[in-house]
């Protein structure tokens, strides 16, 4: 059973390593993740929101709807734990 798991893990690792041929290099400033919309967030954050921390202004102003969904997710996790574990006092 463990030998089968080890073979599956090694094959998956080899396939993933084969897939990294097309990936961008380490620290490339022209990789596709850094040229689409994030320069606009960095350049416009001081004149539109007056908050120097770009991560906070993106998380709480430009993408505040996603943060609302994430807060609902963690609230739902607490409710799920309460409903599963707490027993009614008889």
């Amino acid at each position: 059973m463990k030998l089968l798991a080890l073979i599956a893990v090694l094959m998956t690792g080899a396939l993933l390593l084969y897939g990294t041929i097309d990936m961008p290099d380490w620290g490339d400033p022209h990789s596709p993740a850094s040229i689409h919309v994030s320069p606009r967030y960095i350049e416009k954050t001081m004149e539109e929101t007056a908050v120097p921390n770009v991560v906070t202004s993106v998380l709480a102003d430009y993408r505040s709807y996603d943060t609302l969904g994430e807060t609902v997710v963690i609230f739902t996790a607490a409710m799920a734990c309460i409903l599963l574990i707490r027993r009614p006092r008889t």
Partner: protein, 125 residues
């Protein structure tokens, strides 16, 4: 072959992912499987945050934000902030999943009085 060896940072992420993956499918105890899932998720978060790195760039907090002097802001001086933002959400989802999974393990222990996967499958027959 040189293309695979030159991207050495991806080796670290893949080795960490495979350690977590082996713990998820190779171990028999339920809590050990859960720890393997946690290692897997941490490796994915590390991979995503590393796609935003830039050579010679500093953290994504605009300098000179206290006073009124705003210099010209170049995007190449600052690390890409979008993966950091998305991974904050992913960390919160990781914690929520871990909490609910531990609650489910407590319910399984109340019902079957054991935490080994093969004993639970035996008791269900």
């Amino acid at each position: 072959m040189e293309l695979i060896i030159s991207k050495y940072n991806y080796w670290v992420y893949i080795i960490l992912m495979m350690i977590g993956f082996y713990a998820m499918i190779g171990k028999r105890n339920l809590v050990k499987k859960l720890v393997g899932m946690n290692i897997f998720q941490t490796a994915i978060i590390l991979y995503f945050v590393s796609t935003g790195a830039k050579r010679g760039a500093s953290i994504p907090i605009v300098e000179g934000g206290h006073g009124e002097a705003i210099h010209a802001i170049h995007a190449a001086h600052y690390v890409n902030p979008l993966p950091h933002v998305l991974m904050l959400t992913a960390i919160v989802v990781m914690v929520s999943t871990f909490g609910v999974a531990l609650a489910l393990i407590i319910m399984l222990y109340r019902r079957y009085n054991t935490l080994e996967e093969d004993e639970i499958l035996e008791l269900r027959k």
